[in-house]
Symmetry: D3
Subunit: 246 residues, 6 copies
């Protein structure tokens, strides 16, 4: 199956991290097609940036062809709801997949990440998924970092420590290492945290594979049915075509 | 005070409806500056369209100058959270303002609108505001309509009937007539529904005036502080400048 | 418009504080009519005192004449629900108005006040409004104070510090300085707390003005319709008349 | 043990109904002391009336002497929180006791009563107790009735029918026949409804007996500790004394 | 009345503790029939052990005869829902009874116990009862203990200290001393904690007495009706008989 | 990988249905090991039967050897929490897997099944998973059925109709066909319902494969760590060994 691995930020090195982590768990028949946002910010960290990233994500999905499924690979899932309306193949968000997977590994999960700026956006992702009751805490490092593509090495010890602390202090049963720049970190540090770790992009790959394998049909009713065709103004042609059903 | 009345869809006739309804309640010193989205769809009805509308709304806000406040005048409040981060003046959403105003007029409000397609987006707006416990129901007409700018006349009797039914069947104490194309309808039909009606844009004008009058400061901490400056790629210059704090 | 500024406690000096703070934000055409409870306690701090204050508030409202709206100016809103049933003009509670206003300034608000005794009553006000999901914390100073009418000066530094701490520790985006005796404090200390502050009575004035401007009708159905007329025994004449619809 | 059976409305015939129903389940050593409100309304049905009833209830409690416990015998529990603060013996509310008892008889309870006017007040009682998740529905008859003291006979068949319907349609496991005027009805119609019925005053008697038997101490900390002593103005002497700790 | 006091763990000394504490509050006419699990673990502390204890509890109930009611006397209430389906007399759980009783003594209760291992099971009991909103905290000692039947003496000072801390730090109004091995402790230490203490088995005795006195009927509809008769394989004869309605 | 497909009821024909449906979606390298409960009831439909099924499930898991993962294949997930504590490999419940999968296919899911008796148990499964906010409705057929192993053929048309109705009336975006006896039905009727259908056992196979692929570690902290070793009395040897860590 062909899965678009859509990075809605503009940093190709982060796409590379995502792809490397994704490949270690992908099934033999899974082809991962990486894509990096052509415009936007180097890493999405706020609601404002997520709004812009969501619009770019829809365009990137409209551009792609021959997909069996797609992964919106930014924790926070920009544009996910809209993508699920517009496209006929399954689309999975990295935050969503990580949280739902975590629910099978523990009663309550914590989300651990590398920057305070991400907290409000992640908090809204938890709420959007209706999983506040399963979330023990969102914990963020508070210092600056040098390079988004290397933040996981730079902050490794601090992140492991924060994960251990949320287990002890917030009673988390499982910890999600969140944010595309942390892709691949969980495997490296798993034996240093006393509960299961969830790597967002790896969870997303397995969930996307699961949905494709289950061959669920596209809804023609309910809130994710295809919207009625509509004219548009000034949108990229592929997206305009999809909105007008052309 | 100068308030941007930002219509994130592309239909100027809807902007006109919004402006007319807004003016009837605006305070003497309030100057309303109408703006219609330069790109997007004629009316926003789905999550996908809201994502696109949110991005356009941020651009429109970045273009405007000399504002004391702004109103995102689509029920569903596309881009509101992001706008609140990026800009230093108060920004109010039409759904948010309508619901919070309704909370002072009744224990539970219903949202009544003209098309089924709007329900999921509105439902997410209720949840995003944490007001599910105050929402009696979202009720939508189910037929087609001819012209978005005249849907309020075309459907007037049906909307009045639906409002009356949600009072009787869902125990609503107050009814929000939702959706930019219904701006101004509430005043016309108020005496035909036995509970208070809330007109979204009118509520938004009064709430924006209230916030400006209260002279609240821009946060420098918390989840609506200004994001750290950041480079960007391919964004409209005014928005890029704001993101890079230029 | 004529707004009753109803202080349900017996301390006229607190009414003066409320009036002074209210006037700085009231619109040009707003006439504020102060009233102090003729019986009860010097300041309401507990559920028991709120019950008594609620009954007095209803009597005071029944006594007043020619009103366009009213403000129940004790944080905790004693008697608010009952007032909304009995009277035909809008009635706004200070806690309600502060919290709803805060919702437009941040994702989560904290309530900061000067005495531990107030916490349970305020907590019930948050729940009654269905806003627990938006409330980061209720934080109270714990020492004694000398004079209720001067507690805001006496405790100013401690209150500023507590506001700053709830931002840092509870992730509040906005802080409500709660309690009638703190009226006017927010403006004085706004630049010493890194998030917007909400002054309860000022929020209530703007919300009452908004409701009056929106000219919402009195409900004849739903939970705030006028109760059916009923005889009564031993109540003050004006209130008895209102209950019997005379 | 001596239990005050406090009827916060002014209808002595309703007090008689309450007393008769209470006696059939009271333990041998329980002495029930009936009291009827000296002022207020013939039956409490709205938030406004409940505010007045709550104030009267506190006065009645302050007047009584030599009590081991008390029952606030109006469904809606006017003044309960305040009573629990001010007095050293256990005070139980009829709504509270009925709902908590119902929780041991079924997963979800319905509340059935004789007048639509009661619904908002009862709904707030459910919320105040934090039991919304256990409440299947509140169902009210909608016609007028002749005499509050005989409404249970007049409406018996309709109430039985409504109880049966809430079982079938709302999936209630247990039905509370709510409202002081229905005291004693449950026993008479129990075999005509296919789930357990709860009679409010009977549940309250057993819960009050339970609390007295368990000899729980009066809190000196937490939200039901005795409030700090305070002067007051214009209150009945016994209540003023209690508030000033005299 | 005859009440089975069912200890679903295998330690007879714990049954003795339960019985002693229960007798001090039982009404004169209450006969308490103690029973200790014939198989299982010495004390139930985890979800796995609770599953096994639940199955044993159903068998023990099926074996007993001539009962008017029963108490499942392990905090966590193993098998309670199933018992309520299968048997015609009232069955009360110790956790359920303690929490519902606590709700009449305070706004929020804390649960205090002697071992960390119990926390997840107790947390699920709170959720199962729909009382998360009333629960301030679950607090557990973290050291080892010597003898389950004497843990209350060994840890007395630590438990009192933990109770006091949850009042101060978690704002609990009432504290439940939870776990069968702590039966009887509350009475001994009540004057050393500033809020009411609830002893689980004592609360359960009073609640079981209340339910029996109220003579509620067995449901023939709703979720606690008797299940349809069904064959079974390999179950103890008395339980098999009950399942097949023989 | 070797996955135990554990049917906690005693009907081998249902195990066959489960296995057949599971195989059509299992990955090439997945070996499914079917097991039928050696004691219990022919199909689990109530809380009481689930308690018994949970105990048997733990025994069956303790008996199995060489597993990489396991599926508790009764909708309601008897014993799941306990299994997750006791065993070192991932264990997935059929209800849990179906609901979490459904969350990626729609905003709100409905659960549709063949017998009213199942509703309370399923409702508790939704709550236990903290997914009440995502559940539109639980809908059950109400007639009798002939043979549990053929109920899906017998009721096919009625189930399709009920699924369509919950989409239209409850606004479900996705429908779970719940209950082991319906395994395989979803694929057969997918094109007759306008939203995606989820087959419980198929979802569980994909989720179990996902967890095994992600190689999550066994927790040594948090609520799913292995319980401390403990003696036991009268349990099957393999389970006793596991509880005593032998």
């Amino acid at each position: 199956m062909r899965l678009l691995l859509l990075n809605p930020n503009t940093t190709a090195a982060v796409t590379d991290l995502l792809l490397a982590a994704a490949r270690t768990v992908a099934a033999p028949g899974t082809e991962l097609i990486p894509a990096t946002a052509p415009r936007g910010v180097p890493y999405i960290a706020t609601r404002a940036e997520a709004v812009l990233g969501g619009a770019v994500a829809l365009e990137m999905l409209a551009e792609a062809e021959g997909l069996d499924g797609a992964i919106v690979a930014a924790f926070g899932d920009p544009g996910l709801g809209g993508a699920r309306e517009l496209f006929d193949f399954p689309v999975v968000g990295m935050a969503e997949a990580a949280m739902l997977t975590a629910c099978m590994l523990g009663r309550r999960f914590s989300i651990v990440t590398f920057a305070q700026a991400l907290e409000p956006w992640y908090a809204e992702a938890v709420e959007w998924n209706g999983l506040s009751g399963r979330c023990a805490a969102i914990r963020c490092l508070d210092g600056a970092f040098r390079d988004i593509a290397e933040v996981q090495e730079e902050k490794e010890a601090l992140l492991v420590d924060l994960a251990a602390r949320t287990v002890a202090e917030d009673r988390a049963d499982v910890v999600i290492l969140a944010g595309a720049p942390l892709a691949g970190l969980a495997a490296r540090v798993a034996d240093r945290v006393p509960v299961p770790l969830v790597d967002g992009v790896q969870a997303a790959v397995k969930q996307a594979e699961a949905l494709v394998s289950l061959r669920s049909r596209k809804a023609t009713a309910g809130s994710y049915r295809r919207p009625a065709p509509k004219p548009s103004l000034g949108l990229p042609p592929s997206l305009a075509r999809r909105i007008s059903h052309g």
